[in-house]
Each structure stands twice: as structure tokens, then as C-alpha cells.
């Protein structure tokens, strides 16, 4: 196949094709950005507390054990839908109390069980983190995960 193609023709195809696919990709990304902000995520619900919760999530590097919408370290449970798993859609108060209590109970020190460290979070930080989980749970993820187990 290479005999039919000169080096310069191959080079021109590379530059032309890459530029074309990049423009398509950039345009679709721009559309996806618009779609995420306006359609698939809760625009009004993205409060300061949710943003603070994301900050808490990042400051403590939760993602290097857990995953969120399937991305992370796979060492600990998926948390993108933890709100659903704790029954937050039916009983928000109960789910909030449950998640906070679980975090505060760490480390469990159960022998042979993976250990979540004790993170020294204030009440405000805990509430913000739960707000962040609740907001994340509401993202339209095309029905992922397939099962609430995460």
C-alpha cells in the first residue's frame, strides 16, 4: 500500500485529516459543554455548598481510593450514586445522616477489611460533601451504573 503513496501525500493527509477531526471534536465538545451545563446537570442546584463539597472531595483525594461515575482508583466503592444507595431519593434526611455517620465512624478497624482513614471533616464540610454527592447523583448519566451497587 505504501508504494502508492508518496511521503508528501502522506504528510498532507495527516495535517488535513487531523485538522478536520480536531475541528469536529472541538465543536462536539463545545456542544457537550453547553448540554452539560443546561440539560444533563442540575444548573440551579449547583450551589456554593455543592462547589465546596467538590473542593472537600478533591482536598482529601477521595478519588485515589473511590471512583465517581466510574473514574478513580477502584479500590473503594463507587460514590457517584452513593446518594441513591443510601436511599436519598426517598429519604434525604436519612441518607444525609447515614453518609455522615459512616465517614465519621472511620477507621472501622475491622480485621482484614480495607481501611478508610479518619478524615477530620467539620460539620460544614461533611454537609457540603453530601450536597456534592446528592448533586452528582442527579446527573443524567445515560442510566449508568447498570445496578445501584455501583
Amino acid at each position: 500500500m505504501t508504494e502508492m503513496l508518496s511521503r508528501n501525500a502522506a504528510r498532507n493527509m495527516f495535517f488535513g485529516g487531523s485538522a478536520f477531526f480536531f475541528l469536529v471534536f472541538a465543536a462536539l465538545t463545545a456542544h457537550s459543554h453547553w448540554y452539560m451545563v443546561n440539560v444533563s446537570t442540575d444548573k440551579a442546584g449547583l450551589t456554593e455548598s455543592v462547589a465546596h463539597g467538590k473542593d472537600v472531595w478533591e482536598k482529601n483525594s477521595c478519588i485515589n481510593c473511590h471512583s465517581i461515575i466510574g473514574e478513580g482508583a477502584y479500590f473503594a466503592p463507587e460514590l457517584g450514586n452513593v446518594w441513591t444507595r443510601y436511599g436519598g431519593r426517598e429519604n434525604p434526611e436519612g441518607a444525609r445522616a447515614g453518609i455522615k455517620a459512616w465517614i465519621k465512624a472511620q477507621p472501622l478497624n475491622a480485621p482484614g477489611r480495607r481501611r478508610m482513614p479518619a478524615f477530620d471533616l467539620s460539620e460544614t464540610e461533611l454537609d457540603a460533601l453530601v450536597d456534592f454527592f446528592q448533586w452528582t447523583d442527579s446527573i443524567n448519566t445515560q442510566n449508568w451504573p447498570p445496578h445501584p451497587a455501583g
Binding site: 511521503r7 504528510r11 485529516g17 477531526f21 446537570t41 473514574e71 479500590f75 451497587a149
Partner: protein
Amino acid sequence: MKYESQRVALPFFAVAMALFVLQVVFGIFAALVYVMPEFMAEAMPFHIMRMSHTNLLIVWLLLGFMGSTYYLMPEEAEAEIHSPMLAYIQLAIFAVAGAGALLSYQFGIHEGREFLEQPLWCKVLITVSFLMFLYNTSRTLLAGRRTAINSILMLGLWLAAIFWLFAFYNPDNLSVDKLYWWWVVHIWVEGVWELIMASLLAYLLIKMTGVDREIIEKWLYVIIGLALFSGLLGTGHHYYWIGAPGYWQPLGSIFSTLEVAPFFAMVMFAFFMFWKGRRNHPNKSAMLWTLGSATVAFFGAGVWGFLHTLSFVNYYSHGTQVTAAHGHLAFYGAYVMMVLAIITYAMPQLRRMQPYNQVLNMWSFWMMTSAMCFMTFTLTFAGVVQTHLQRVMGMNYMEVQSQLGLFYMMRLGAGVVVAISVFLFLYAVFGPAREQLPAESGPALTTA
């Protein structure tokens, strides 16, 4: 070694290899925690080990790319490096930033997005150092001969720097955050880094097979064309479930399936040139790493990527150990092995010797590669079991994990073998040269 300033590569290779050792050590720590959850639970929790493991990989690969560029640029451009001093300063800054990040992690100081955990000041220093590197090598290129190899290499490096800038953008909306996070992570490893890999491969093949530059460079353009045509829209396979529109499912499935093509072309390219080449290069261990890199990249990045890239498969496998399996073999084949190939090729010339310790080097090749494959298989099995139990049966995450202990033990064992073979490699390359004669016939490397 025709140009004195090629020696600049040596300290880059040395620092890269030191960080490689650390990366493997942190990897073994993390693998140990999977088997013994109490291991260092207080002293160094899992998340610190894991970010150290992944960050060290990225940092040492970048240093390896820089060293490779400094090594090949004078030969390709037929000109000395613009400023060796600038290269040393730039290396020092990069090393300070890398070491600074690593140390901060031990004290719990980090940012919070996966792979981009470096504290801001480290990110800034990395950027500064990388720009100095690009300035230095681009000046060298502009002053000398422009070939497809050095032009594409520089294009890949420049694009890597440009897409890195998305690391500084962290919006509050998690979906939008992920959308652009992949512009760094995916566009690097499944896009512009492939330009770097392909040009390093082409350089090694020109040097070791003696095939015409015209032919090699034509292949090179075809390969990187395939890489970007498929890889840019292939980013869509990360956009299935993060809140992006549904059209990414067909788009991502189709284009990321095509991402196998550049890796297939690279295997064909490498072996075709190897058989076609008349030159019987004495550095057989470098040839082995070169062919091995193309092959394992095809399996690790290509086949193992395709395994879970179709949206209706990924719906079940997303975020399981299947991803971990793919990640390990893809990085190892495409980037780790390519840098080790360049180092194996360059070191005898940097030390002004005939190729040496080749048998030991080949032992390290076979041990490291087998162990990485074994690790990938165990993680794949773990991932398949996990996918079924958790995603189909709906079993609780922690219960599922307790079923996977055997796989994690085997993964740890594979990791220990990797560590041993890394030390063999380092001894073969940096240790005393025991035999300088070319190996008679390396395994699977009897030249036609």
C-alpha cells in the same frame, strides 16, 4: 555518538530510571494493601501510594521523552543542542517539581483530580521547565535539518504542552470538569503521545535496520494520521456516562475501535522494517525492546482497549479492574518499553562502548514483559468476575472485592517480578560492562 551535546540525555535517563524504581516500589506497596489491608494503613494510606505510583510514572516518562529528544535531535537535525546548560537547568527544575510533589503527597498536600494531584507550584514549575525544554529543542531543530522524525516528535511534544494547560481549568460542575480533564488525559496518552512514540520508533528503526528514510517516514505519517483521526473522536469513549449527550456512544464506539489501527500499523511497520532491513545491528537487546514495544503496545493499548471500549460493553465494565488491566499493559507497552528501548540503544554510545551486557538486558526484557502480561491477565480476570457479580448480579462492592483475593495475590507476585527485572535492567545498562561482544543470537532475534 556523533555530537558531543547528545550527552545531555544521560542525566535525564538517570533521573528517569531512579523515578522508575520509585514508581515500582509504590506500586508494590499499593498491591500489598490489596492483599494485606492493614499494611501501612496509618503511615501511608492507599490514596497516597496510588497517587505517588501514577504521578511518578508520568514524570519519569516525560523525563524519558526529554532525554530521548536530546539524544536524537542532534543526529536528526545534524546540529548540536542549542544550549546544554539550559537543558541541565530545565532538568533540575523538573526534578525539583517532581520530587516536591512526591514529598508533599507524603504530608497529605495535593490537589484532588486524578493524575493531576501536583500542588499548583509544582504544576507551574513543570510548565516552565517543559517550555524551556521546548525552546531548547525547537531552536536546535530550526537551526538544523528538518526530518519527518524530528518534526513529528516536536509536534507531539508541543501539543502535549498545549493540552497540559487544561490541567489548570477546574470548573465546579463535575461533568464539565471531566469533559476537559480528558482533554489532558486522553489526548495525551491516546493522541499526541502516540506521535512521540511513533517518531521514536521510526528513529530506532532507521538506525537499526538501515531501511530508507523515505519509506520509514512515509509509514510514520500514515501511523500518526491513523492515531489522530481515530484518537481525537475516540475521546468519546470517556464521554459515555459523564453527563454528555448520547451521540458519544456510537461516535466513541466507532472511533475508539479504530484506535486499534495505529497500533496494528506500528507492529506491522516494526516487523516489516526489521525483516526488510539488511543491516545486522549489533545492539540486539535494543532491537528486542523496539519490536517488543510495538507488539505489547498493540496488545495492551489496542486489543485490551478494544476489549471494553464499545459502549454496550463499557456500560457493564466501566470503572472495574478491567480498566486497571488495560491501563497497566498499555502504558507499559507503548511508553515504558519505548523509553527503555531508546535507553538500551543510546547508552552504549553515551558510554562510548560496543553494546554490552546484552544477555542480562534481554533477561530483564522477557521477565518484565511476562510479569506485566501476567499482571494484566490476573486483573482482567478480576475485572470480569467483578463486572458479573457487581454489575449484573448487583452484589455489594466490598463483598465482590472479598471474592477477588486470589487475583490480587497473583498481581502482587507479578509486581515483585517486575521489580526484580527493573533492577536487572538497570544493572545491565548502568552497571559495569562485562561482555561487550554482541550477543550471538538473542531469543527470537535471529536476523533473517
